[in-house]
Symmetry: C2
Subunit: 310 residues, 2 copies
């Protein structure tokens, strides 16, 4: 069984920041990710609010962090899935689909996944017109008419991105105002090929081989209508990837996010959580980075017990 | 009296991150700094641990943040000193040496200042060989012998920076090991012109017009000796710039840092603190950024009371 001092689960912004600090502090640091390194931010068409980069694609930003983390000396294993955690002994056990590791401390930075709208047709047409990632699937719909569901920053940036590719973008939001940043809302208002349907919910996604229409419900007027669209981009928020943490008996809040204190400590000594999976109220690249740093420095104190933290 | 929605005091990493988010959220945002914008990080010879920039000078990094913040739409007033805060009314009053402002919310991001060693000669030779900033004053000592006091990351990066300028760098640390990151400690070990005196305290700084020697005390052997140096760089940590906050009756902890919760809220509604002046246990550029973002989004909720935060 391989031995490490610090294992970080998840190579998104939080995990990579933790990796930079863990490795620079001299800890033997391994980062595991079930996908490619980069995390949720790598799907963002554009990031304009990570301080230091006025405008950068999410993919480019997270690749800079990946290179930074490797340069700092952390080892990153991609496409390796953690299947179980055992925190009952003095040393922690991390089992994956490829190996079993022993470590002193663990940082859980597994992020969140896209929330589904839960309507008829959503599962059936997944990958055939139903998507949760504009930058991944948008280019398939050049010159087409696409729908974006949601009203937050993710929905807004996806809308702006798709407006440059699709012929027409329809946005449906169940409320009568966006919760996205003003700067994004203004950009949307300036796009001639974007139309917003307020107080509108998608009730069904229809098609044959591929999506070709949606059923819309106006929740003030109480009216239903069908419109033709070639794709549906669902952008209504996230839910935490905390299942393996819950199975290892870490405390979570009422929405399933891992409970953390100001040091990013969880309910188990030597185990930390950072980024979107943690209970911190703000979910941004810049806050994930701050939490990853805090978790790594706290893990360092736990592992090395240096003189200045007695 | 000028009206603003959000006034941020301090244009360091925390204040600039808050400014980016405040302005992008559509708030009329003013940032005040008694010096030039950039904050403490702009004095760092090199920053290797802000995720996304494997190696960048502190000045360059903070200038990127300043430009980012201006592009986002925040107004920055440099060389304007806040002299008093009045948080007793519904709207907050911020008085400076130039004007008086009314605002709905305030974020205090005033950072910290260099701690002094408190020995004879320190005040007398300040600016004449005694310095608290390697990048500011190091170039004056090309080819000379300089002393660095301290054992943390600031002392280590200053030592490395000075080793490329001075003929010889002596480091004194009152402990027998550095608390700096391993990566920095290894770099120091590889420098032929750096000598470290462990368990050693500087008891006096001497000179004529300029510094020319220091009195060292070995705290294990109990012995005292004098060595010749041309400059003394004090790098023993920081204390919070919280005086105006304390005068406005904000709660501070036992070291004077402004008490904040997970939303960066202080003891007064509508007033937030972020970065080195806040009670958060970690003081890094990346954590200051995360706190600034959190404070700005919380201030936004306080000011606009949007539908999703009722």
């Amino acid at each position: 069984m391989e031995n490490w001092e610090l294992i970080i689960i998840g190579a998104g912004a939080a995990g990579l920041a933790a990796g930079i600090y863990g490795a620079r502090s001299g800890l033997k640091t391994l980062i595991l990710d079930e996908k490619m390194a980069g995390g949720a931010a790598s799907d963002a068409p554009v990031v304009e609010n990570y301080p230091g980069f006025p405008q950068i694609s999410g993919g480019e930003l997270t690749q800079k962090m990946v290179l930074h983390c490797k340069k700092a000396g952390a080892t990153i294993h991609e496409i390796e899935t953690v299947t179980a955690l055992d925190f009952t002994g003095e040393r922690k056990i991390v089992k994956t689909n490829r190996a079993e590791y022993e470590t002193i401390a663990v940082i859980i930075a597994t992020g969140s996944h896209y929330r589904e709208i839960g309507v008829k047709g959503e599962q059936e047409f997944r990958g055939r017109g139903v998507s949760y990632c504009g930058i991944c699937d948008g280019p398939f719909f050049k010159g087409k008419r696409v729908l974006v569901i949601g009203g937050g920053n993710s929905a807004a940036t996806t809308t702006l991105y798709l407006s440059g590719i699709a012929a027409e973008v329809v946005v449906t939001h169940r409320r009568d105002a966006f919760r996205a940043e003003d700067a994004l809302v203004k950009d949307i208002a300036s796009k001639k090929n974007v139309q917003v349907f307020w107080n509108t919910e998608v009730k069904e996604i229809k098609g044959e081989k591929l999506v070709n229409k949606v059923v819309l419900y106006h929740n003030k007027a109480g009216e239903t209508k069908e419109i033709a669209v070639d794709a549906v981009f669902v952008q209504i928020g996230e839910a935490p990837n905390s299942q393996i943490a819950r199975e290892a008996d870490l405390e979570v809040d009422e929405h399933g996010y891992i409970k953390t204190d100001v040091f990013q400590r969880t309910s188990v000594a030597g185990v930390y959580a950072a980024g979107d999976v943690s209970s911190h109220p703000v979910k941004q690249v810049g806050t994930a980075v701050g939490q990853g740093i805090t978790a790594a420095l706290e893990a360092y104190s736990y592992i090395r017990r240096p003189y200045y933290r007695t």
